[in-house]
Symmetry: C2
Subunit: 318 residues, 2 copies
C-alpha cells in the first residue's frame, strides 16, 4: 500500500431531485461542502475520529463517510493491513438539510480514503462506493453523490449498472439554496411519495426532464425555468414544508427561472440567470420565510464544475 500519510478531501453541496428530476438529476453547488481528512492510525479497519457533528454516529458502519471508506476498501480489494484508517469529518453542510450533506460526507470520505491508499479506484468505482454508502444512509440514489464527486449537473440514466450523463452547464446559471430552520429526514420525505402515479403525470414529468436537458444543452434559460415543474415529489412534500410555497412564489416573483425542493428538503432551491438576480431571489425567499416567522439561511453559488477534490495532503499534521 502506498500513498501519503494523510489526505484531506472536500466535496461540495448538491441539489438532488432537480425539479422534475426526482432521483435522476442532481447538481453541485459552489461554496459550502464537507471535508474529510483520512489518516493512518494504529489498529485496523476504519475509525471515525471526528464525526463532524455531535448528532452524527461515531461508528464507521453508520457514518456516511465511514461507510464510503469501507466501500472503497472493499471495492479496491485491499485491507488496511496492520494500520487502520482514521477519518475526521468537518461538516460544512447541515444535517438532514436537503443539500446533499450525507453524499458530500460519503464522497469526501471515499476520495480521501482512495487517495490515502494510493488511488486504486477510478472515479466510476468511487461513485459506486459512495452509492453503497448512500444506500445504507438515504437510499440507493446517485443524484447527490454523482454531482458531489464529478461536479456539474448530472443525469442518472440508470443506477444498476451505473450509467450517467454529465449535462452542459450554461455559463450564467446560478443556484440559490434557502434552508428554513427545520429538519427533514430523508426517510420521512420518501414516505410521502406516491407509490403509483397517473400515466399522464408520469409522461408530463418525463417531458419536463427532457425539456430540462434540452434547455441545458441549448443554454435556453427560459425553457429551463419552464421545465422546473415537478408534479410527483413537490406536491407530495410541499405540505411537510411550512412556507415553501410562499418562498417559491417569492423566488419566481423576484425573477427566478424556477424553484422547487432541494433533495427531500427542507432546503428549497431556485435557479437564476446571473449572480445579481440570484442574490435578489435569495433575499426574497428569506424575507418570505421571515414574514412567516421562520428563520432561513441562504447560499448563492454557481454550479460547482470541479466536484470533489483534495484540499491538502495533511502530511504536516500526521
Amino acid at each position: 500500500m502506498s500513498g501519503p500519510p494523510a489526505v484531506t478531501a472536500f466535496a461540495p453541496a448538491s441539489v438532488g431531485n432537480v425539479g422534475p428530476g426526482l432521483d435522476i438529476v442532481g447538481l453541485a453547488v459552489e461554496g459550502p461542502g464537507d471535508e474529510v481528512r483520512a489518516e493512518w492510525i494504529e489498529g485496523s479497519g476504519v475509525r471515525i475520529l471526528d464525526p463532524g457533528h455531535a448528532e452524527l454516529p461515531r461508528e464507521a458502519e453508520r457514518h456516511a463517510s465511514g461507510l464510503a471508506a469501507l466501500a472503497v476498501l472493499r471495492r479496491a480489494g485491499v485491507t488496511s493491513g496492520e494500520r487502520g484508517i482514521g477519518l475526521r469529518v468537518r461538516k460544512g453542510l447541515p444535517l438532514s438539510g436537503g443539500q446533499g450533506g450525507s453524499a458530500a460526507s460519503a464522497v469526501a470520505g471515499a476520495v480521501a480514503t482512495n487517495a490515502l491508499l494510493g488511488s486504486p479506484l477510478g472515479r466510476w468505482a468511487l461513485i459506486e462506493a459512495c452509492l453503497d454508502a448512500e444506500e445504507a444512509v438515504a437510499g440507493r440514489h446517485a443524484d447527490n453523490v454523482a454531482p458531489a464527486l464529478l461536479g456539474g449537473i448530472v443525469l442518472l440514466r440508470a443506477v444498476d449498472p451505473l450509467d450517467l450523463v454529465q449535462l452542459p452547464v450554461p455559463p450564467d446559471l446560478f443556484v440559490v439554496l434557502v434552508r428554513p430552520d427545520q429538519r427533514m429526514r430523508t426517510a420521512d420525505a420518501r414516505a410521502v411519495l406516491p407509490r403509483e402515479v397517473p400515466r399522464a403525470v408520469a409522461l408530463h414529468q418525463a417531458a419536463q426532464v427532457g425539456a430540462m436537458v434540452a434547455a441545458l444543452a441549448a443554454g435556453d434559460y427560459e425553457l429551463l425555468g419552464r421545465a422546473i415543474d415537478d408534479r410527483i415529489a413537490e406536491p407530495a412534500r410541499a405540505g411537510l414544508l411550512p412556507g415553501f410555497a410562499e418562498a417559491k412564489a417569492a423566488a419566481l416573483e423576484a425573477g427566478a427561472l424556477g424553484s422547487s425542493i432541494s433533495g427531500s428538503g427542507p432546503t428549497a432551491f431556485a435557479l437564476a440567470r446571473g449572480r445579481e438576480r440570484a442574490e435578489r431571489v435569495a433575499a426574497a425567499m428569506v424575507a418570505s420565510h421571515a414574514a412567516g416567522g421562520r428563520r432561513a439561511e441562504s447560499v448563492v453559488g454557481a454550479v460547482d464544475r470541479r466536484g470533489a477534490r483534495l484540499t491538502g495532503d495533511g502530511s504536516e499534521e500526521s
Copy 2:
C-alpha cells in the same frame, strides 16, 4: 381572401412515442408521406373530393384532412366565402399503421388550406389546428403532427399551451420502419396502457427521455440506443403485436441502436447509425417476421428535417 387557385402540400411519415417518449417525442421520416391538394370549388365549407382511401370517410368532419382544414378556417377567423374548399388526398402512408398517417393527412390538409387562403396562419397556429384534428381522430397528442409539420425530432414539453422543443438531429441517424401485415387502431392501443404506473417506472422513463435528449444533443449514438427503453407503453402493447419482440431482437442483433413500437403500432421502428446498417436492420426485421409467417414491409430513411412543404401550386389543373 387571396392566394393561388389550388395548392398541394406534402407531409412526411412520423414516428410517435419515440422509445420512452410516449406522447412527448416524435420524429419525421424522409420518404413516404401524405399529399393533399386544396382547391377552390363551388359551394361553401370544406369538401373531401378524394379521401385517399376507400375506407376513409368522405365527410370533412370525420377525415383528418378535412378536420384540419376546418380548424385552419376557424383559427384564421375566415370563412371560405362564396367559394368552398375541396380536398383531394393521396395517402402514401398506411391506415392505422403507426406511421403518423392521420397526422400527415391533417398536416398536409392544414398546410394546403392555409396556403390556399394566402397563409394567414403561422406554423405555430398550424400545429394547433392539426392538434384539433388529431384530437377528434386519435387523441390530443402532438408527437406526430409536430414533427410532420416542422420536421426533425420534436419534444413536446406541454400541449396546453403548446411548448415544444426541436431537438438536434445527429448526422448519421437513420430510421427503420417495419410494418407487419396487421392493423392497429390507436384507440385499442391506448386502451391497454396502464392508467397508473409505479413511481420507479415513471422515474426510469423520465431518465430515459432525459438521456435521449442528451444523446441527441451530444451526438452520442450509443447513449441514444441505451435510452430507447420504454417500460410503460411497449410492455403493455407488445402482446398485441405478434412477432414484435422477435423483430426487435433481430434489429438489435443486426446492429440497431434501439428499437420499439412506432406510435401505437403495428409498425416497429429502429434507429441505426448509417444507411447501410439501417438497411441491414430492416432486412433482419422483415426476415424475422417472415420466419413467423408474417409479411412485413420496411422503409429506411433519414430523419426528415424539412417537414411539411408545398409540392406544387396545382394551378395548371384548376
